[in-house]
Symmetry: none
Subunit: 218 residues, 2 copies
DNA sequence: TGTTTTTGTTCTACTTTAGTTCTTTTTTGC
DNA sequence: GCAAAAAAGAACTAAAGTAGAACAAAAACA
């Protein structure tokens, strides 16, 4: 029915007249549609008038009227929109930023619905994730520094050697390497200034596994 | 349909007649719209009458009647749409992933247009950025590990103490802390197993400053 | 009523903005 | 690689906006 350019222009005219109350000029249109010359706009408008989508008041400037809108989008436009939406869906995901870890409280307790952290979708594919700001230097030895943001995949079990968010005695959340030893669990810091904690498995609950890390400088 | 001036005037007439109960005079209108002569108002009103937005009762003063207003989208709808657009803007940006650093070749040489790295837009606001995969452990001391991806802001100068991508002798790119000492430049690794390199400034070119770091586990 | 004041209309001259037409260049589809 | 379509660009014409003044017509007022 309409070419993609015609469709795009018609929608732009319709949108701006309805939003601003006045009709765009050819120059504004050429910028909106991505042309560098308004002669192209002239041709598009002639085509839209001929097909009875637009009416123009003769010998007037900024005097176009949308007669009707097409019921069908050109397939090229549909494809373009799909691509954009995919980019949005695939590209960026917001996950809750729960606050600072090692703050002495269970993670759920410090959840703040307003704090969000944006990460590439690839980072958080398949699973539920949340972010934490690292406080302290207990994991410095493996490059997890004070102030880093870690992205945690929700999980309640972990493999030996995983870096996990562990909740001790239902009150203290901490980021450590985990190791099971029979009925006991080792929470291993990665900094010689800290000591390994050995606890009965019943006192330790895994709340997630370290999945990635983001650090900003300056 | 309307020009901006026409729209502005129409809205003013509509507003004041509804508020005060009587139609503004041409002089009041010219002040409201920002003109210095009322002849312009006359022309605008003629245009609005012709387009059937206004009617004037002949041979009367202050006797204009608003026939209709341009149909606008409700502002709530506009706000909604704007929000969606913002989401797109805040989304992900692709920056070139130039390859591995410390690979012994200038960064430009290893650029591969196909390799891209997606980061949240906030990470790369204001400036040109690229990504590099870190190879080696020379910066382990400050938590930059083998396999990490660093996001570099393009720059050709740096402050003392910045972590920079430095090109030595136009052939070897490396990520190090930089320090200027008179005519010489120190490239400082953050690992005791490596030695500080002291080079004449002429042999070292800064290619970017470390901006952020992303690490994936597993 | 006539007079004064306010308001609207018309005209000229000019600047800026907008629309049209045409030629040349670039893209696109076969 | 060629022909057709689309786009860019320049040059031109037309409309919109601006200003000032002179004047005519309503409204207000004694």
């Amino acid at each position: 029915m309409l070419t993609p350019k015609q469709y795009k222009l018609l929608m732009f005219i319709n949108k701006t007249t309805k939003e601003t109350g006045c009709c765009p000029s050819f120059d504004e249109m050429k910028d909106a549609v991505g042309l560098k010359s308004k002669s192209g706009i002239y041709a598009l408008i002639e085509a839209l008038v001929e097909r009875n989508f637009l009416r123009k008041l003769p010998h007037k400037a900024r005097a176009l009227e949308v007669v009707r809108l097409p019921k069908l989008k050109p397939s090229a436009v549909i494809a373009e929109e799909k691509k954009k939406e995919d980019a949005l869906l695939n590209a960026m995901v917001e996950i809750p930023l729960y606050g600072k870890i090692a703050a002495g409280t269970p993670i759920e307790a410090i959840a703040n619905e307003n704090d969000k952290f944006s990460v590439p979708y690839e980072m958080v594919r398949g699973g539920q994730y949340y972010a934490l700001k690292v406080e302290g230097d207990s994991m410095e030895g493996i490059g997890i520094l004070n102030g880093d943001t870690v992205i945690i995949k929700k999980a309640d079990t972990a493999q030996n050697g995983d870096i996990v968010v562990a909740l001790v005695d239902n009150c203290e959340a901490t980021l450590k390497q985990i190791k099971k030893e029979g009925p006991e669990v080792l929470l291993i810091p990665k900094n010689d200034a800290y000591e390994v904690r050995r606890l009965p498995a019943s006192r330790v609950k895994v709340q997630g596994i370290l999945s990635s890390l983001v650090r900003s400088y300056h």
